[in-house]
């Protein structure tokens, strides 16, 4: 049950929010936990016991860290045990089952952060397991983030503010915007990407290769940003504030800046728990390079244990290192030409890096890039329909155009931040349009297959 699921929209949310709003405040925490458990169980009941067990372990481990404040050896053992357990939770299932554990990467990262915080004394270990469970299973963020640290949420979890009308309205607006990104744009563009993969990269015309690359880049942003907005929106409706995950990343001027604006909560996590502890940028170039390399190696592995993710992370690492050393002045320059070149560079290199991210197979990556630059000396295309891009443009131009516009902050500013009845009406209309489209696809007896 994802947020764009009709059961979530018209069943779970419609029941949960009134119940949560009208139960007495002492019961809110229990209702919230119940909601989280139901939400997770609907998605993946097999993993739920492991998650609950993990919550127990982390709770007692952190209490142990506090009790053993004068035994450094025991403390470092507990710390390592905790981190290894979380990593094991991420990795071990990969070796035993084909089953993908939803949201497990997010659990692990947040718990590692919490254990480290307690170890360093940044925050005390919680005495209330209910808060910890609510933090882990908080259903708006349980599947795909945003990543929040425990201290950020602890206060609002132990004394839930409850639902208030103005927050509810803003939350609904944010949620609808995210839903529209996902349902109206990202899901449509996804079928373009599927389409070109079905044709096979070896038979794409060069223009279509470029179109599909940019289409995928837009789709990935809208999908993830859509999800984050929905999460933030639902949390807001319930009276919680989750951090922003994206700030129009495609408007950046360098790759480094891009990743300060893309999946920001993950970036901040790596900064706080890996980059700065390893030395960061204030202790000389060598330490900076080492810590950057480790951060990007881990980022690659976090997305999946696979060569293409490492290639993706490697490319970005190279770009960022170059930006931090050789081209430091160019990146910071306010010269208008350099600014323009910076944008052009980001809009060229990032979509290409997404191709490394999206295509799991090295041979197919090679073919894709050969078609992208039409290097016929190295790869001879097979049975290309040279006008295929016209067919695709005809079908997808509204989504490509809409998606491009949504990469700028303008839509968000209009629909979320202005409080006039016009935008209220637009949000309302967008919601029912999304529901209509979801229902249409859902009621189609050929939903799973549309060949």
């Amino acid at each position: 049950m994802f947020f764009s699921d009709i059961n979530f929209l018209l069943l779970f949310l419609l029941i949960f929010i009134p119940v949560y709003a009208y139960v007495p405040s002492w019961a809110k925490r229990f209702v919230l936990l119940l909601g989280g458990i139901i939400f997770y169980a609907v998605n993946d009941i097999i993993v739920l016991p492991f998650i609950l067990l993990d919550i127990l372990i982390v709770f007692f481990l952190n209490r142990g860290l506090e009790f053993a404040f004068d035994k450094p050896k025991l403390r470092s053992f507990l710390l390592r045990l905790g981190i290894v357990l979380q990593i094991a939770l991420m990795i071990v299932p990969l070796f035993f089952t084909e089953h993908y554990f939803i949201g497990i990467g997010f659990f692990a990262v947040q718990f590692i952060g919490y254990i480290l915080d307690v170890y360093k004394g940044v925050c005390p270990a919680t005495h209330n397991i209910l808060d910890l469970a609510n933090y882990a299973l908080f259903f708006p963020k349980v599947l795909q983030g945003p990543i929040v640290s425990f201290p950020e949420m602890a206060k609002s979890l132990s004394k839930p503010a409850g639902v208030n009308p103005s927050k509810l309205e803003k939350g609904i607006r944010i949620f609808i915007l995210g839903l529209s990104y996902k349902v109206l744009l990202a899901d449509r563009l996804n079928s373009l990407w599927n389409g070109v993969q079905t044709v096979g990269f070896q038979s794409l015309s060069t223009p279509l290769t470029w179109i599909s690359m940019y289409s995928y880049s837009i789709q990935l942003f809208l999908d993830f940003q859509g999800y984050s907005l929905m999460a933030i929106g639902v949390a807001y409706m319930l009276g919680f504030t989750l951090p922003v995950n994206f700030q129009s990343p495609y408007m950046s001027r360098s790759v480094g800046e891009f990743y300060r604006r893309w999946h920001m909560t993950l970036g901040q996590w790596f900064k706080n728990y890996v980059y700065i502890p390893m030395g960061g940028s204030r202790n000389g170039t060598k330490k900076m390079l080492a810590s950057l390399s480790v951060v990007w190696l881990l980022t690659g592995l976090w997305h999946g244990i696979s060569v293409h993710f490492l290639m993706w992370a490697g490319l970005l690492l190279i770009c960022i290192i170059l930006e931090k050393t050789l081209f430091k002045k160019l990146v910071r320059s306010e010269n208008i030409i350099l600014k323009f070149l910076g944008h052009a560079y980001v809009l060229a290199i990032i979509p290409m890096s997404w191709m490394l991210f999206a295509i799991p197979d090295i041979d197919r990556i090679y073919i894709f890039f050969m078609r992208l630059f039409d290097l016929q000396n190295y790869f001879q295309p097979i049975n290309v329909n040279s006008t295929d891009y016209i067919t695709y443009l005809k079908d997808y131009w509204p989504y490509l155009l809409g998606g491009t516009v949504c990469c700028f902050p303008i839509v968000e500013n209009i629909l979320v931040k202005t409080r006039v009845s016009m935008t209220r009406f637009i949000s309302f209309a967008l919601f029912w349009l999304c529901v209509y489209i979801i229902m249409k696809n859902g009621n189609n007896p050929f939903m799973y297959v549309n060949f």
């Binding site: 096979g200 038979s203 049975n383 007896p445 549309n450």
Partner: protein
């Protein structure tokens, strides 16, 4: 107004770039190698404009004038039989006319191969399968789902017509809203009633594989064939077998699997009467020795990669009917 003035450079840039694109499309240049269809788009735009202009023009004509026919978008309409055409009395518009498709060729014109190999359709004799050349498909139409859409893009049978759509199935294939040669909203039924063909190639059945039984599917198929025959009495119908899927798909999917596909194909083959309905087992060209589509032929194990459409194409060329 100030805003507009400030935005003027932007509009100017858009117009200039459009003009440059237009010029680029008009002359021989290296860009044509990358954007071969561009000149056609411009051409199409011009044609569409003229078409729309024509329509507007026609709508101004009073249909009840003393004239026997009105020439609308290439179709001659007999005014004496106007009962069939929906007339909006308030405005005097011919509403039905705007929906009438514009045939590219004279509807009754059917090219006949000059080598004398053609069998006239007044009496259907049993045709035999054998190799043919591409001109065989000049008077053919392909009706089908996304796989036929793929065929239309990657078979290089330039002269055949393709009435196909992603998601098409035997139950909705006649009514489904499809686009055909620039006509964005038409249907197989509409096109078959306007155009004339000698060969109708069909491949349907993968979308509805989870619906009904092999018998109910074949019954629906048979009904569709009867309807097609009522529009195309001179055509032979060629039922192409449902193409098999890859092994991983077949093993993992509840309904989209090869046993089901072969069961339905078996039933489909009984619809053939070998006078005007034939059955072609396309899987002879696609399937491996186990009857599965080889894994490296397809990304999703359902649709062939573009590079393998030649298998299907060559099979059709090897198994022409005459």
């Amino acid at each position: 107004m100030n805003k507009l003035i400030r935005k003027a450079p932007l509009f100017l840039a858009v117009y200039v770039s459009l003009a440059v694109m237009f010029l680029v499309s008009q002359y021989e240049n290296p860009l044509k190698h990358y954007f071969p269809g561009f000149a056609e788009i411009v051409q199409q735009l011009a044609e569409d404009t003229i078409y729309v202009a024509n329509l507007i023009d026609v709508n101004l004509i009073d249909p009840r004038r003393e004239q026997n026919t009105v020439h609308v978008a290439g179709v001659n309409i007999d005014i004496e039989n106007l009962e069939d055409i929906n007339i909006d009395d308030d405005h005097g518009d011919i509403l039905a006319v705007t929906e009438e498709p514009e045939p590219e060729t004279d509807p009754v014109f059917v090219p006949i191969p000059s080598d004398g190999s053609y069998t006239p359709r007044d009496s259907f004799g049993t045709l035999t399968e054998g190799p043919v050349d591409e001109s065989y498909f000049d008077d053919a139409v392909f009706i089908g789902d996304s796989r036929t859409v793929g065929l239309s893009m990657y078979s290089n049978f330039e002269n055949a017509d393709y009435l196909c759509d992603v998601g098409m199935n035997i139950y909705d294939c006649m009514d489904r809203d499809i686009s055909f040669r620039g006509n964005e909203h038409t249907s197989v039924r509409e096109m078959l009633s306007v155009r004339s063909y000698r060969k109708v190639y069909m491949m349907l059945g993968i979308n509805e594989i989870g619906t009904g039984t092999a018998d109910s599917f074949c019954e629906a198929y048979s009904n569709v064939i009867s309807e097609i025959q009522s529009y195309q009495p001179n055509a032979i119908i060629v039922i192409q077998s449902i193409m098999c899927v890859g092994k991983s798909k077949s093993d993992s999917h509840r309904t989209i699997n090869n046993p089901r596909i072969y069961e339905r194909n078996e039933k489909l083959s009984t619809l053939a009467n070998n006078t005007n309905i034939y059955y072609l087992n396309i899987n002879e060209a696609i399937a491996d020795e186990n009857g599965d589509m080889p894994a490296n032929y397809s990304f999703d194990q359902v649709h062939l990669y573009a590079q393998y459409y030649y298998l299907w194409r060559d099979y059709l060329l090897q198994h022409g009917l005459r």
